[in-house]
């Protein structure tokens, strides 16, 4: 399957196969009008199968969340058909509405409109805690 190269934009590569759609939603890509390709199960010499997202627009996207989802993801910035930067996302200091607090005693468990905000409390061990109740995030990355 061929997907055209993009001229100016972002390529999010080496997404674990099956997680592309989750990232598509977390980045709110459904709200954009530009061309976006979500490629699932592409073959990868590095990880076997992978998902790729190509965004054909010069946008200021907040990609911080990718560091939490998977630090092995590769972000490529493309300008005039050339890759000008390639990097792995860093762990963000705060995550808003990415993780849900599971503590039944937390205020977020009863007041639905409150943002679920987690802060990074231990970078080395990738531990996030709810800013309200300090419960540790329970996720596959923690």
């Amino acid at each position: 399957m061929n997907i055209d190269s993009i001229r100016n934009g972002i390529v999010i590569d080496h997404i674990k196969a099956g997680r592309g759609m989750e990232i598509y939603h977390l980045l709110n890509l459904e709200t954009l009008n530009c061309s976006i390709a979500l490629i699932k199960n592409a073959s990868s010499g590095k990880i076997g199968k992978k998902d790729i997202i190509k965004i054909d627009a010069n946008l200021e996207l907040n990609l911080d969340v990718l560091g939490y989802i998977d630090p092995d993801i590769t972000i490529n910035l493309i300008r005039d058909c050339k890759r000008i930067k390639k990097f792995h996302p860093d762990l963000p200091e705060r995550l808003t509405n990415v993780i849900q607090c599971k503590n039944p005693r937390c205020i977020t468990s009863v007041e639905q409109e409150i943002d679920h905000v987690f802060k990074l409390t231990d970078r080395e061990n990738r531990i996030y805690r709810c800013i309200y109740c300090e419960s540790k995030a329970k996720g596959e990355n923690n």
Binding site: N103, R105, C106, I107, T108, S109, V110, E111, E113, I114, T121, D122, R129, C130, I131, Y132, C133, E134, S135, K136
Partner: protein, 304 residues
């Protein structure tokens, strides 16, 4: 505008300053009797309390201010489903400062994000209770005349005991503190407190299930109640509630200047035969609580 949600919101210098003010209030109460004239404190207690609510109200009255509020969620619009943020925005129109207790952890922080007046966390579930910690610190300062070089035994419910978590936070900022954590296996200090405070700051601690064994080492013994309201399962509460009962006999091996503290209310974890022991400080704590809350109200209202 400052709020007090967590004891670590206050620097060591600020805590020392509050303690100095509280001691001055104790020495010269008349000088403070009109400091808050014309000011109103709202006490919003979504969960029952005797000491903390009355202490806040007495504190404001002794500063010459007025109080309003409710003492149970059923007496507020929360029973109609009103959110914390809406309640706070409303009460901020009536009061100059708010003391709030809520059964859900983090509720006072949510309140502070939406409030136009200072919020004081008067206890949020099993999480934080910073004014109890200020009370405890004032008591330790008055009884031991120092915060450094103390062996502090914390006994009972260390898992849900919010007073214990806040006290550990506060004392960890002083030098040469050693904690002795005495609890049944099921009510051990949460991992995040051990990791984020004790381990991170290199504070030494001992974990034990035996109060008798460590009694001779202690400068301070902080007893806590196993709280029925923190258990989802009644059977677990019944099984654990009588884990530690301090009585006169157990105190025979204790230091002569041991300071026995308890945030109260107690059920049976301190036998009444200890009440007349000169080392029992828990009723002094109650009184100190009012004075330190007076100092805190003055600070947050920026009254000179």
């Amino acid at each position: 505008m400052r709020s007090l949600i967590d004891i670590v919101d206050l620097s060591v210098e600020e805590i020392n300053s509050l303690i100095n003010t509280a001691n001055d209030i104790i020495a010269n109460p008349v000088n403070y009797s009109k400091k808050c004239h014309g000011k109103k404190l709202a006490t919003l207690f979504f969960e029952p309390s005797t000491r903390t609510r009355l202490s806040f109200e007495a504190a404001m009255m002794e500063l010459g201010g007025n109080v309003l509020g409710f003492s149970a969620a059923s007496n507020s619009s929360a029973s109609k489903g009103e959110s914390v943020s809406d309640t706070i925005r409303t009460v901020g129109c009536y009061a100059d400062i708010i003391a709030m207790r809520h059964p859900k952890e983090g509720a006072p922080m949510v309140a502070s994000l939406h409030s136009t007046v200072p919020i004081i966390n008067a206890g949020d579930g099993g999480h934080n209770h910073p004014t109890q910690t200020l009370t405890d610190l004032l008591t330790i300062q008055r009884e031991k005349e120092r915060f450094n070089s103390l062996t502090v035994g914390l006994c009972g419910d260390l898992k849900f005991g919010r007073t214990v978590h806040s006290l550990i936070h506060a004392l960890s900022r002083y030098q040469n503190i050693h904690f002795v954590l005495i609890s049944p296996e099921e009510l051990k200090l949460p991992e995040y407190v051990i990791h984020n405070i004790l381990n991170k700051q290199g504070i030494t601690y001992t974990v034990t299930t035996s109060l008798e064994k460590v009694m001779p080492d202690l400068d301070i013994l902080y007893m806590t109640r196993v709280q029925r309201e923190r258990f989802f399962n009644e059977a677990d509460y019944i099984r654990l509630k009588d884990s530690y009962i301090l009585n006169k006999e157990k105190l025979t091996t204790a230091k002569a200047d041991l300071c026995i503290m308890h945030p109260l209310p107690r059920v049976n974890e301190i036998s009444v035969d200890v009440d007349n022991d000169p080392r029992a400080c828990y009723f002094k704590q109650v009184l100190n609580g009012k004075f330190i809350r007076m100092a805190l109200i003055l600070k947050l209202l920026e009254v000179k």
